[in-house]
């Protein structure tokens, strides 16, 4: 048409953008907490103690990665902890009839996928709001565990099943920590480097616009629920293996800690933005805080107060900062 003027690709380089990001701020917070912890307790800077500390977050973080994608797409799954309970109960019941370790893994993953598919069908098939659906299935899944187990516990897991929650790959590097790292990389690639990840962002920013751009919105959301269920199943295997027993109250209240981790990692609770590196750093921050407080013999209830205060202050700080700057 008229003379072609070149529009530059970008004005800011990706490096510059990363430096000014939420993730870099969070990394500073993590380093600060690490230094504070090492002054607060003489037992902190010990390789085995640090390794133990990672168990505080590895299982939750596996689910948090899938949850991050789900929240970025504008949905949420509050039934994840209940899926752990149901999957663990199913594995425990299978142990009673003599199922071996490979069978248990299959059952854990299958229950996770089925629960995820159930949530996904209700949300994408019937168009129900995910927060309501998953509050419902949260009660449903854990209720099933309670009916099956009552006040009993399943024990007697085969010895080789213990590896998933208690085994070490090399020196102080546990199997769980390794799995956490692998899953983090997979989700980071999936979200940040694939067409699928781009579609997740598009849906979260404007799902109508995404639909009108030819994105299969329903299918992608269904896959996200499936992935969240799958990760809950995997976490159930690790947690059950680590504890060596199943009670219906297993992983009680984890859904809130997982959502906290995701939001702390910079994922907008309204959908549309966030990153996997952010969630990884948030996982470490939460692990370090709980571990540090544990070393100082702070009781659990105080820990949850601290985590809550941390979440609110980290979320509020940037808002206060911009209010102060514009004032």
């Amino acid at each position: 048409m008229s003379s072609t003027r070149s529009i530059p690709d970008r004005l800011r380089s990706p490096i510059e953008r990363n430096l000014k990001s939420w993730e870099s701020l969070l990394l500073l917070v993590a380093v600060g907490i690490f230094i504070a912890n090492s002054f607060a307790s003489p037992y902190f800077l010990n390789a085995w103690n640090l390794s133990d500390a990672t168990f505080n977050f590895t299982e939750k973080a596996m689910i948090a990665f899938a949850m991050a994608l789900l929240i970025i797409s504008g949905e949420i799954d509050l039934s994840v902890a209940a899926i752990i309970a149901l999957a663990s109960t199913a594995m425990g019941a299978a142990v009673q009839v003599g199922v071996g370790t490979p069978g248990l893994i299959f059952i854990g993953i299958a229950v996770g996928l089925l629960c995820g598919a159930f949530n996904g069908v209700l949300v994408t098939g019937l168009g129900l709001p995910s927060i309501v659906v998953t509050i419902g299935t949260m009660s449903l899944f854990r209720g099933l565990s309670f009916i099956i187990l009552g006040d009993q516990a399943y024990r007697g897991y085969p010895p080789d099943f213990a590896f998933f929650g208690q085994g070490y790959v090399w020196w102080v590097i546990s199997f769980e920590l390794t799995l956490f790292a692998i899953i983090a990389v997979i989700y980071a690639v999936l979200l940040h480097m694939t067409n699928f990840g781009r579609a997740v962002y598009a849906i979260g920013n404007n799902s109508t616009g995404a639909l009108f751009s030819g994105i299969r919105v329903g299918r992608i959301k269904f896959i996200l629920f499936l992935l969240t269920g799958l990760m809950s199943g995997v976490a159930a295997i690790c947690l059950t293996s680590r504890l060596g027993s199943t009670r219906p109250s297993i992983a009680f209240g984890w859904e809130l800690e997982i959502v906290t981790m995701v939001v702390l990692g910079g994922v907008s609770i309204l959908g549309g933005s966030g990153s996997i590196p952010g969630v990884v750093i948030a996982a470490f921050v939460m692990g370090l805080v709980t571990f540090g407080l544990g070393l100082l013999n702070v009781p659990g209830i105080v820990m949850s107060i601290v985590i809550g205060a941390l979440l609110i202050s980290v979320i509020a700080l940037p808002r206060l900062w911009s209010m102060w700057r514009s004032a």
Partner: protein, 515 residues
């Protein structure tokens, strides 16, 4: 084409009575647009005045001036000869002006009575809402307009027509001497329309001055006593309804030279690319069938609510039709989702750019490549360099103005946002592009650019469907026009038959065509 234009010709009938409300010399300017330019209007007690004009003639603006929503730049309002000012909607209500808008905002979760009296509910002596009095007054008003609605019912349980009656009741709950009705029958069935006519007669007997806006000529001639015609924000004529006929009104509405600003183009029409047969939907449209050829621009004209956008969205796979078939290049296809439509080569530029067209909070390049990611990636992995290349190619063809391709679409002007949406679809190399109100709300310069580009696309062999409510655009751009009315095809017009008059008469469903 040159129509006979006779400005201010027919003010021959000055009625003997004095107007209850009069506007004179009203001018209202918005950035880049002069919405009203020195217009006047008179409303008489016990009489109905019809305000007539095309979309964009300034009818809604004048309603907003009369109800205190807009402040005129120049000109004055008089009620009973006394000059008045309406700085707020409240002040217009206090002066006795009430309006039934096209789309009244009602509250689904509140009761009928609460909806009617929201903001001016009767109070008890403690300052609380006097519920008993409110329900009683609501019942009175509702029965006064012949509506059989329980004032205690929750609004969301009512059908569309009854909701509209509640909106009317709300307007009448204000003790008004001037009642403005902005297309009050658009959402009503024939029986309810008859009841509305009775209500209007009733209001006339109470000596209220009524302003009636409608696109339907039959009802204008049935209930109006006087008419006023606006075109492009200017006053064209006024008079008694018995002194005018339909053709004269149509001519006053549309009369203008429309062929100048549109690009000249060759009409190289090729093979048939799209064939639609018997498309229907339970509520929105029925029996839609047509063909489209390469290089052709097919206009879809109709009044707001004629079912054009609803049909286009079904063709694009947003909604499911209940019957019908589509063929592309002679091969029958099924479209169950936009993804399938895009894969078959049908793309849709929606009317609602902000919500449906673009993803405003994502950068330009990501918007452009979103439907084409399969081509810019390898094994499902993004290749940013390829994305930027594709985005650059198409945005430069459209002469997009932006700081960078990484800029969020929200930061662009309306015209440039539209260019991003069009670039997104051209990058998919479609066979058929549907443009729904492509120039709505964009500035004149971008408008011309979109028209020019549309002509260029057709010249390159793309088949274009253009939904538009702007008569000049339809006349200036289309090779062929389909006029829709109430969900059906009313007429199909060839190039030589496309005139403002034929469009308006078919869209309004006037039986004998006006020549």
């Amino acid at each position: 084409m040159q129509l006979e234009i006779r400005p201010n010709v027919s003010s021959r009938t000055a009625p003997d009575i004095d107007p209850l409300l009069s506007l004179s010399g009203i001018t209202k300017t918005f950035p880049g647009v002069r919405a009203l330019s020195d217009v006047s209007l008179k409303l008489f007690p016990g009489k109905v005045t019809a305000l007539v004009g095309e979309n964009g003639a300034g009818k809604s603006t004048v309603v907003k001036v009369l109800t205190g929503i807009y402040q005129p730049d120049e000109g004055g309002i008089r009620i009973g000869g006394q000059p008045v000012r309406f700085p707020t909607p409240q002040s217009a209500e206090n002066a006795g002006v009430t309006a039934i808008h096209q789309e009244t905002v009602l509250f689904d979760e509140l009761s009928v009575a609460e909806n009617i009296f929201l903001g001016h509910a009767p109070r008890s002596k403690f300052g609380l809402i006097d519920k008993k009095a409110m329900v009683a007054r609501a019942r009175e008003i509702l029965s006064g307009i012949g509506a059989k609605i329980d004032p205690g019912a929750t609004l969301k349980d009512l059908g569309t027509a009854n909701k509209h009656l509640v909106a009317i009741a709300r307007a009448l709950s204000i003790d008004a001497s001037v009642v403005i009705m902005d297309e009050p029958t658009a959402a009503l069935s024939q029986k309810e329309i008859e009841e509305l006519y009775e209500l209007v007669e009733n209001l006339k007997r109470q000596d209220k001055a009524i302003m009636f806006i409608s696109h339907k000529f039959d009802e204008i001639f049935r209930i109006a006593d006087f008419y006023t015609v606006y075109r492009d924000g200017q006053m064209i004529g006024e008079g008694a309804i018995e002194d005018v006929n339909e053709p004269e009104l149509v001519k006053m509405m549309v009369g203008r030279d429309v062929s100048q600003i549109y690009p000249d183009r060759d009409h190289n029409i090729g093979d048939e690319v799209l064939a639609v047969e018997g498309y229907e939907h339970p509520t929105e449209f029925a029996n839609i069938g047509f063909t489209l050829r390469r290089g052709e621009i097919l206009g879809f004209y109709g009044l707001v609510g004629a079912g054009r956008s609803e049909f286009m969205q079904a063709l694009f796979g947003i909604t499911r039709p209940s019957g019908g078939s589509v063929a592309i290049d002679g091969a029958s296809i099924t479209i169950r989702s936009p993804a399938e439509a895009v894969a078959s080569g049908i793309v849709y530029v929606p009317e609602d750019r902000g919500k449906q067209g673009a993803i405003g909070t994502l950068p330009i390049f990501q918007n452009v490549t979103l439907p084409s990611l399969a081509r810019t990636s390898r094994y499902g992995f993004l290749k940013l360099a390829e994305e930027f290349k594709l985005a650059r190619e198409y945005t430069e063809r459209l002469d997009l103005r932006a700081a960078s391709l990484d800029t969020n679409v929200n930061n662009l002007s309306g015209g440039n946002q539209q260019k991003v949406v069009i670039a997104k679809w051209l990058a998919t190399q479609p066979k058929v592009i549907i443009l729904d109100e492509p120039t709505k709300g964009i500035d004149v310069g971008s408008k011309a650019a979109v028209h020019e580009f549309m002509a260029e696309l057709a010249a390159q062999g793309l088949a274009v469907i253009m939904v538009s409510s702007e008569i000049p655009e339809i006349v200036g751009m289309s090779d062929r026009v389909i006029v829709m009315r109430e969900g059906r095809i009313e007429a199909e017009l060839d190039r030589k038959d496309i005139t403002p008059e034929t469009l308006v008469t078919h869209a309004a469903g006037i039986s004998e065509a006006v020549q």
